[in-house]
């Protein structure tokens, strides 16, 4: 946990000194990634276990922002059509096009897909 907070702090410092338009945590993620690649910690290192624990509950951390819906119910009601329409249409288009584009651009070294059809659905 110390490392995660440390890299977050480092990322914030970089972002705030340079005025980069990204959150400090994303810069911290890249910093930690490079560090992990260089240091190659043992699989049972504290950092790795703490990270896995935190990521297992990633959805929990988005709950407060989602609950913000109670403060915008008025706008949601009066502009439901453009909001829901814009959300769903842009989601469908971006997800499908990206899936196709990446699949198309992936170098074909091994034949065939690595997951069977519907492997992701449960």
């Amino acid at each position: 946990m110390l490392w995660l907070l440390g890299f977050w702090l480092g990322g914030e410092l970089v972002v705030r000194t340079t005025g980069l338009p990204v959150p400090g945590a994303v810069v911290g993620m890249l910093g930690l990634f490079v560090t992990l690649q260089v240091r190659r910690p043992r699989p049972d290192a504290h950092l790795l276990r703490a990270s896995d624990g935190l990521l297992a509950h990633l959805q929990l951390l988005f709950v407060p922002a989602g609950v913000g819906i109670v403060s915008v119910l008025g706008v949601l009601r009066s502009d439901a059509l453009p909001l829901v329409g814009g959300l769903l249409v842009s989601w469908v288009v971006a997800l499908v096009v990206l899936g196709w584009v990446v699949a198309l651009l992936l170098p074909r070294d091994r034949g065939g897909p690595a997951v069977p059809a519907g492997g992701g659905d449960r």
Partner: protein, 243 residues
């Protein structure tokens, strides 16, 4: 010693503790329901928890700002969790080289599609400029989308809700839609999920397949960057065309 339950209640009412407990409790119910339903996609714990907490707030007439004293403490851990996404990526790093070109094309394209189609559809369906600007940054992860929304004159609280909204829609339906579109490769699925639906989509990908999840996390980080860079450009172009 004196008997002063009123004082105790007042402390509970104004302390962040209640918001934290409510959030954790609702999330716990979400986890339980998810397990009980055989991990049915609709029972994403975040969706269940948001519905439960919102219902409690509305039923008790609690203002969001009062809840947020505790909610903000929970959301604080979002930043270290974002840093932690380096770990699954590290484990999949040997795949990175072959994804370099696809990512360089896909991430900016995805950001432009999320921004442009979101903006365009809102306007086409009768939304005003403010609403369109509120929608535009929603594919970026919450801290970024909120900051961008404030920068471009959107409604910040609504952008946060739309961001969580697209995440939930994607966590529930994304893998199904990708399978329907015959996108099978875990790298392609992961990049699409992370780029379109940030951390919430990433958490679904991580749960489905660690390899897919690692690339979702990477795509999420890169999309935050691409959205921050491309949103001002997009709005500038729209203004040029409009004038």
């Amino acid at each position: 010693m004196t008997w002063q339950p009123g004082e105790a209640l007042e402390w509970v009412r104004t302390s962040p503790l209640l918001g934290v407990l409510l959030t954790l409790g609702a999330y716990r119910v979400g986890l339980w329901l998810h397990a009980r339903s055989g991990r049915h996609p609709v029972t994403q714990p975040v969706l269940v928890a948001v519905v439960l907490v919102s219902t409690v707030l509305l039923a008790t007439g609690t203002a969001y700002a009062d809840y947020a004293r505790g909610g903000d403490l929970v959301a604080f851990a979002l930043a270290p969790a974002t840093v932690a996404l380096a770990v699954p990526l590290h484990r999949q790093a040997h795949h990175l080289r072959r994804l370099l070109v696809p990512l360089l094309v896909a991430i900016p394209l995805g950001a432009v599609l999320s921004i442009g189609v979101g903006y365009g559809v809102v306007v086409a369906l009768g939304g005003d400029e403010t609403l369109a600007r509120t929608m535009a940054p929603k594919a970026a992860t919450t801290p970024v989308s909120i900051a961008l929304s404030a920068d471009v004159g959107g409604i910040v609280a609504l952008t946060a809700v739309l961001t969580i909204g697209v995440g939930i829609v994607s966590a529930v339906l994304g893998p199904w839609l990708l399978t329907l579109a015959r996108v099978r490769h875990p790298h392609a699925r992961g990049v699409a999920m992370g780029a379109v639906s940030h951390g919430i989509g990433t958490s679904r990908s991580l749960a489905d397949d660690p390899e897919e999840g690692a690339f979702a996390g990477l795509a999420m980080g890169l999309t935050a960057l691409a959205t921050a860079v491309l949103l001002p450009v997009f709005l500038h172009v729209v203004a040029l065309i409009g004038s």
